[in-house]
């Protein structure tokens, strides 16, 4: 069995960045689930707890990096899948632009909320 399916062109930059963000996400996503479902049960999360966590510089930075990495990985994954399915030319540029824009918006909003949670704004 040597067949191997991937949507990515293995020589590309998108491929490499997808792998690098994946490695980072393994740790952060597992940590996130563990912290907010098992250490703190999801049903018992209160603003005070969120604020306490987000007020720590380390946790805050980790969440922002997690946000950036997950957004990039997700949006890049979607874009790549569409290119892999044959998206080309103007439509490719438009879709790429829309996806990049949504990603930037999501990150900007995520960072705003993170500051609000930390009580900074």
């Amino acid at each position: 069995m040597a067949e191997h399916y991937s949507s990515f062109d293995r020589s590309g930059r998108r491929w490499l960045l997808q792998r690098l963000t994946a490695v980072f996400l393994i740790g952060t996503l597992a940590f996130h689930f563990f912290l907010l479902h098992f250490v703190n049960h999801a049903a018992e999360i209160e603003f005070a707890g969120t604020q306490a966590r987000m007020s720590e510089v380390g946790y805050f930075s980790l969440m922002v990096l997690f946000l950036v990495a997950a957004t990039f990985h997700g949006v890049n994954g979607v874009y790549n899948a569409l290119v892999n399915m044959g998206l080309e030319g103007t439509r490719k540029r438009v879709v790429g632009g829309v996806l990049a824009f949504s990603g930037v918006l999501l990150i900007a909003q995520g960072i705003r909320v993170a500051f609000a949670m930390a009580g900074v704004i």
Binding site: M1, A2, E3, H4, Y5, S6, S7, R10, R19, A22, V23, L25, I26, L29, A30, F33, H37, F38, H41, A42, A43, I45, E46, F47, A48, T50, Q51, L67, A70, T71, G74, V75, G77, V78, A81, S102, L106, Q109, G110, R112, V113, A116, M117
Partner: protein
Amino acid sequence: MSETYNRGTVEDVGRWTEFSAGMWAWIFHKFTGWVLVGYLFTHIAVLSTATASDPTVYNQTLSGLESLLVVRILEVGLLAVAVFHILNGIRLLLVDLGIGLQAQDKSFYASLILTGAIAVASVPTFLAGAF
């Protein structure tokens, strides 16, 4: 190493009965990836509307959501989706590094079984207090 194949026919969903394990892995990985991005956008939107100057809004939004049985069940689903994407993703990273090329089928089945086991094991924690 990758083999070249005719995408036009191999990826034709109508031929799903002929799919190999690798093909299923590819489809599941796509599906779980898309669910995760969708969740991420929703997640930030929910956290954004919940985070107001009055902390009771946040508490009420989250506890309101968590009191719904559907939400709890969807969360178990989300965990399963995330766990599969992580485990299969690690498998893909290793395959790309040339590790375990001979055991791709086995490692895919292992990812599936482990995902199932973790999802089942998490049910008590996830559903606690939902009834």
